[in-house]
C-alpha cells in the first residue's frame, strides 16, 4: 500500500515509537505492557481477536528490538531473553526480513478465476485465445481448468466484461526475485537464499504479516551512552518528515536526539561517482564488456548472482555511498560509531557484511527515525546554523532513479567531454532482471547499467514515509540548491 496511510502503516509506526520511548525511558520492565498500549481495549479492530492482534504486535516489538521471531508453538513472554537487546552492539541475526507466520492470511498463490461478471457471451474470446484449451463454456459460463492453465493471462486480457481476474499474493507480486514460497499451511515463506532484503514485500502485505528487524533500541542506547555517534543521512531524506522538517531542521533534530554530528551520504556518493567514472573509463570495453553501478545493495547482490561468476566483475567494485561516507566519518573521528539513516531495508543487510561491519554500526530507516523523533517529541522548531552538508547536485540525486548513472556520466563528461556513454537503467528487481538478461547475452556491451531495486529509486524504498512523486520532487529541488554539479567541476576541470 505504497503512498496510502493505512492501519498497517499506523501499526508499524506505533511499534517504532513505543520501542523508542521505552529505550529513552529505560523502563525495560515495561516491555510486556507495550502490546496493551498499542492495541487498547477488549475489542479487536483489525483481526478476529484482540489476543491475536497483541500476539502479532508482540512479535513486531521483538523484531523492532532486533530479536528473533518465535513460533506460535512456544510459550514465552516478550521479555524472555529481552536482555540480549539491551546493548549498543549489533544484536540481530539473519534473516533480516521475515514472515510472521501466524499473521499471514495464506493468500492464494497466482491463478486466474472467472468472476460473477461473466455473461457467457456469444463471442467468449477467452476460449479462443487459450493456448492449452484450459478455458471452456460450462453451463453458459466460462470455466478455467486449473490443471491445464498456464497462467498466461490471455483470457483475462480479452474478456469484454473484465470478468476474469488474476488472484495473486501481494507479497509475491511485489517480490522481483521470486523468493516467496509457501509453508505446509499455505502461508507465505521467504526463501532466504533468493531474498535480497529489498523490503518491498513487507510494505506490500495488506495483513502486515512481514516485518524486518530494527536497531532502534541499540542505537538509542548508544545515543544515551558515553561514546560519540555520528549520523550519515541518505539524500532521499528531504521532505520525508513533513513540511516543517527542512534539511537544516532535520540536522538540528538529529543533534537534539543525541547524535554528535551529521553527514550527508551524498558526500560519499560524490566520491563514488568519481570512482565509478574512472572505473568505466579504464575498463570498459577492454577489460569489462559493461559496467553496472553498485550503490543499491539489493540490486548489486542480485546482479552478481544473476550474471554468474564470469561476469560478476562487471558490477562496479567501488564502495557504496554508505560505506564511503562512513569511512570519511571514521577517519575524522576515529573512536566514533556511525549510524546510516536511509530509506532502505537492504542497507541493513549490507551493513551486516563482514567487510562493512566495522564501518557502519547502525542502520535505521526514515520511518524508524520518525518513531524516534515522535518519541522524543521533536518539533523541528530549531534551525541549525551550519548547512547539513556540502554535497553536489548529482550526489544528492542518487536518491532518484536515473540519478546514479547521471552522476557517473556527469563525471565522465567533466573529464572527457567528447566521450559518449550509452546508459540503460531499470527500477524494480523484476525489470532489473530483464536488463541483466540482455546484458548477459552480450546486448549491452559498452553500456553503463544502473539498477535500482525499488521503483522510483531510493525515494521509493521500504523505509520511506512520503509518496514517491512528492519525495522525488523534494529531492530534486534540494539537489538543485547545491553549489556544483559534481566533485570534479571545482577541481580546475571545465564543466
Amino acid at each position: 500500500m505504497r503512498g496510502i496511510f493505512t492501519p498497517v502503516t499506523n501499526l508499524r509506526r506505533q511499534v517504532f515509537k513505543k520501542v523508542a520511548e521505552l529505550a529513552f525511558s529505560g523502563e525495560f520492565d515495561q516491555i510486556d505492557e507495550l502490546p496493551y498500549r498499542i492495541i487498547k481495549g477488549e475489542v479487536a479492530s483489525y483481526r478476529e481477536s484482540v489476543f491475536k492482534e497483541r500476539a502479532i504486535v508482540a512479535e513486531r516489538i521483538r523484531l523492532a528490538c532486533g530479536l528473533n521471531l518465535r513460533s506460535a508453538s512456544e510459550h514465552a513472554p516478550i521479555s524472555r531473553d529481552f536482555n540480549k537487546a539491551l546493548t549498543t552492539e549489533r544484536v540481530f541475526e539473519l534473516p533480516l526480513v521475515d514472515v510472521i507466520p501466524f499473521a499471514c492470511n495464506a493468500c492464494d498463490t497466482v491463478h486466474y478465476e472467472v468472476s460473477n461478471n461473466c455473461q457467457g457471451c456469444l463471442a467468449h474470446p477467452c476460449t479462443s485465445v487459450c493456448p492449452v484449451k484450459a478455458v471452456s463454456l460450462v453451463d453458459g459460463r466460462s470455466t478455467i481448468d486449473p490443471e491445464k492453465c498456464l497462467k498466461c493471462g490471455r483470457c483475462a486480457s480479452v474478456c469484454p466484461y473484465s470478468a476474469i481476474i488474476k488472484r495473486e499474493r501481494p507479497c509475491a507480486a511485489a517480490c522481483g526475485v521470486g523468493a516467496i514460497e509457501s509453508d505446509d499451511l499455505g502461508r507465505a515463506r521467504i526463501d532466504h537464499e533468493k531474498c535480497v532484503s529489498c523490503g518491498q514485500c513487507l510494505v506490500s502485505c495488506p495483513f502486515a504479516a512481514i516485518a524486518d528487524k530494527s536497531q532502534i533500541m541499540q542505537l538509542i542506547l548508544a545515543l544515551k551512552g558515553e561514546g560519540k555517534v555520528f549520523a550519515e543521512i541518505a539524500p532521499a531524506f528531504v521532505g520525508q518528515f513533513g513540511p516543517l522538517a527542512t534539511p537544516s531542521k532535520v540536522k538540528a533534530a538529529l543533534l537534539e536526539i543525541g547524535f554528535d554530528g551529521v553527514y550527508e551520504v551524498a558526500q560519499g556518493a560524490d566520491d563514488v561517482s568519481v570512482s565509478e567514472a574512472e572505473e568505466f573509463l579504464e575498463k570498459v570495453p577492454e577489460e569489462l564488456p559493461f559496467l553496472a553501478t553498485s550503490c543499491c545493495p539489493a540490486w548489486s547482490v542480485f546482479a552478481k548472482r544473476t550474471l554468474g561468476e564470469k561476469l560478476a566483475g562487471c558490477v562496479s567494485c567501488s564502495l557504496t555511498p554508505m560505506v564511503a561516507t562512513a569511512r570519511i566519518i571514521k577517519a575524522e573521528h576515529p573512536d566514533s560509531r556511525v549510524c546510516f539513516i536511509g530509506p532502505c531495508a537492504a542497507k541493513k543487510l549490507e551493513a551486516f557484511r563482514r567487510t562493512v561491519r566495522s564501518d557502519v554500526n547502525y542502520v535505521i530507516t526514515y520511518e524508524e527515525l520518525m518513531g524516534i523523533f515522535a518519541a522524543k517529541e521533536i518539533d523541528f522548531s530549531k534551525d541549525c546554523e551550519e548547512p547539513i552538508g556540502d554535497a553536489t547536485e548529482t550526489g544528492r540525486n542518487y536518491a532518484v532513479s536515473g540519478g546514479v548513472a547521471e552522476a557517473v556520466v556527469s563525471c565522465i563528461k567533466t573529464k572527457h567531454p567528447e566521450r559518449e556513454v550509452s546508459i540503460e537503467r531499470a527500477e524494480g528487481l523484476a525489470n532489473c532482471k530483464k536488463m541483466l538478461t540482455l546484458a548477459k547475452a552480450g546486448k549491452r556491451n559498452g553500456y553503463l547499467l544502473e539498477g535500482m531495486a525499488c521503483e522510483g529509486g531510493c525515494v521509493g524504498g521500504a523505509g520511506t514515509l512520503q509518496p514517491l512523486a512528492k519525495a522525488a520532487a523534494a529531492v530534486r529541488k534540494f539537489a538543485s540548491e547545491a553549489s556544483r554539479k559534481n566533485k570534479l567541476v571545482d577541481e580546475g576541470q571545465p564543466e
Binding site: 496511510f5 502503516t9 515509537k17 513533513g242 513540511p243 520518525m370 518513531g371 521533536i378 518539533d379 523541528f380
Partner: protein
C-alpha cells in the same frame, strides 16, 4: 464570489507520523471529483503549520475544517466532513 472552505491540517511530528500529509492529499484529491460531487464551492488546504498543543493529550492527526476542530482523524472522516460542509455552503 465562490465561497471557499478552509481546511487546515496540522503538520507537527506526531501528526505527520500518523498520516497528516496523506489526509491533506486526500482532501486535495476532492478537487478532481468536483463534477461528480457537484460541488459549487472550492476547498483550500493549508498543511504548513504545527497547530497541536504539545502539552495536551495526543490528538493527532488534527484537522480544522471550516473552523471546526477534529481530533484523531482519518482520511475518510475528513473527506466526508469536507464534502458535507461544501454542500452546506452551496
Amino acid at each position: 464570489m465562490k465561497p471557499r472552505l478552509d481546511v487546515e491540517v496540522c503538520v507537527c511530528t506526531q501528526c505527520v507520523m500518523n498520516g497528516a500529509l496523506d489526509i491533506a492529499d486526500s482532501v486535495e484529491s476532492l478537487k478532481k471529483l468536483k463534477s461528480q460531487l457537484r460541488l459549487k464551492s472550492s476547498v483550500h488546504v493549508d498543511a504548513s503549520r504545527g497547530i497541536c498543543d504539545k502539552d495536551k493529550h495526543d490528538c493527532s492527526p488534527l484537522v480544522i475544517v471550516d473552523g471546526e476542530r477534529l481530533e484523531k482523524t482519518t482520511s475518510e472522516m475528513v473527506m466526508s466532513k469536507v464534502i458535507s460542509a461544501m454542500r452546506k455552503t452551496d
